[in-house]
């Protein structure tokens, strides 16, 4: 797989996970005033963040909640319970601050960044919207590739540049989300190819489609996989085959965050597809990923297992928008606070275990 020079350079800039900072955090956890291991997954999370940031006293706030939106050509095949124009309408809802993700971001003082990665009909002209001026959504992958390979590379670069710019502006952690009617269909195709799973295992109910629509969704994916003949390691080939643009953008955000040592919180199924693509581009990059939650989409669990990620939340959510990731932000900040703000047994003069 030959990548574009900018992507090759970007990937070469990703620093390694800092094993010594992680080990120091593990040692500190064992000295804090609690039985060892009693904070469970919070302890592992704090150790991971020390390793990502290379710091025992990591800054992960402010956190940016990124929601990338794009239209999916595959909607023509009738794979969703909602019409494709809902994508643009929901972008307006995000900009008005009245969608679930806005409420969830306010709940933890995170700032929301809405990105138009190719939405049809055109999104409103709003200074709060980050227009990429990038295409008009993906082509119908049942008939042709969702996008050109050069576009796939370019949208990833745009995502990386976006995350890097947020870091320059002071952001210290990113939480990923998406909006795109039809995008669980694209995700199911991406996850099937990368994890070598059958489309019937990776295809879920999305926005609660009925049995007939589910059958059609599976069949569209099966036929497209047969037609495109992909290498399961070829991130650019897979992204260009199925899309969508928001998935490529989010994959780039992960690479950009990694280059700046920022932790990334994943949301649901489409963001896990972006994460799998990023992992193909840089096999160690899963170490900067935190699985915010496990959604009700069955393929999401397959993707998380492939990435060896254990989700923080299991609340039967299946909305997208970054909702599960944003809900996990306070858990991540809590983990870091416990590492940094707790006294050791010695500092607090608390007796340890009986010997």
């Amino acid at each position: 797989m030959t990548l574009s020079p900018p992507l090759t350079e970007l990937i070469s800039q990703v620093p390694p996970f800092d094993e010594s900072a992680a080990a120091a955090a593990r040692t500190r956890q064992d000295l804090l005033t609690k039985p060892q291991g009693s904070l469970g997954q919070l302890e592992a999370l704090s150790v991971q963040i020390a390793g990502i940031t290379g710091c025992l006293d990591p800054e992960i706030e402010p956190t940016a909640v990124i929601v990338a939106a794009a239209t999916h050509g595959v909607c023509e095949e009738g794979v969703s319970a909602f019409p494709a124009e809902v994508t643009a309408q929901m972008v307006t809802n995000f900009l008005h601050g009245t969608a679930a993700i806005n409420a969830l971001a306010r709940n933890c003082n995170a700032e929301v960044f809405i990105v138009d990665a190719g939405v049809v009909p055109e999104c409103p002209d709003d200074e709060k919207l980050h227009h990429l001026g990038f295409g008009k959504g993906s082509a119908n992958f049942a008939k042709q590739a969702a996008m050109e390979k050069s576009e796939a590379e370019s949208i990833i670069e745009r995502g990386a540049a976006f995350a890097t710019k947020l870091h320059q502006q002071g952001i210290r952690m990113i939480s990923l989300g998406e909006m795109g009617i039809g995008n669980t269909t694209a995700a199911a195709a991406v996850v099937a190819v990368i994890t070598d799973s059958s489309p019937s295992a990776t295809t879920g109910r999305g926005t609660m489609i009925d049995d007939d629509t589910w059958q059609k969704k599976v069949s569209v994916i099966e036929q497209a996989i047969a037609k495109h003949q992909l290498d399961s390691k070829d991130a650019i080939g897979i992204l260009s085959a199925f899309g969508g643009y928001e998935t490529g953008f989010l994959c780039g955000c992960i690479l950009g965050a990694a280059s700046c040592r920022m932790p990334v919180i994943l949301d649901g199924y489409p963001t896990s597809a972006a994460a799998l693509l990023a992992e193909l581009l840089h096999p160690d990059i899963k170490k900067i990923m935190i699985a915010g939650h496990c959604s009700a989409e069955p393929g999401h669990r397959l993707a998380l297992d492939h990435l060896e990620l254990k989700p923080l939340l299991n609340l039967s959510m299946r909305l997208g928008e970054g909702s599960g990731a944003a809900l996990a932000i306070p858990i991540v900040t809590a983990a870091v606070r416990c590492l940094n703000e707790m006294a050791t047994f010695e500092e607090a003069a608390v007796a340890g275990r009986k010997t």
Copy 2:
């Protein structure tokens, strides 16, 4: 079971769960801009809180994090990996703001209230500590009742008065926690009797005791249950048999919160024992309870199942102090925000499902 006049009056003051507010919240959830049900457990939580508060636009902040501490006489039997004096030392740690619960409360802007429900040696004289001036911890229940029945009633009344006073001071939700070396032993006895389970099923590793200590812990509980001959519906008898004072205090907090229509977030095993006792005193009171998490203690799941509560978090935590409850506070506030701050499909002019 005849209760003291103050307890009888308190219980009579608990208003019923408001089914019509809950139904209105359910209706509203189905109109909001998301596929129906896609916020999963967050939707159920918002409906529950509407029913508890009797309000579609419920106020649940500020939230109080209550940590009740007490010494347990049963520690004499060697049931814990830590010495009994750690209870008092940890109270000092709480007052200094350097324990896990302090970090977790700061993480969600909740205020911490530390209550001395009978700690030996005496706790420091600190204006931030709420001294009840109540006893010197429970007696060793392997040898005698942990407390008099009149004391059991009195400590419950004190808890109810405390929660009521917090409500008068503006608090709108409470999150419960405890500290007491030995209190998972008391909890295991309480849960075994109320859920009619064997002590080997309700007894866990607490602060990570070894196999021999675990065997001893089970055997102490088995013998005490055989000796005390309790009615599984007699909350006062069970509390007086096993304690602890903090458990009785927290049981009272639940009753007091219910009388003020405040939701209560439960933490780990000892708080679930308090919840089971409260449920015996008022069989509908579980409707105001939210299970913050499921701890690594095996009996905790038994207690939550008995109360028909589904925990919000499963992060293998087993610290106590209210840590799992406090970590769940942002999830609860998020659920209420989504109900109140999201637009409906009509308000946002977003197209609904295809027909």
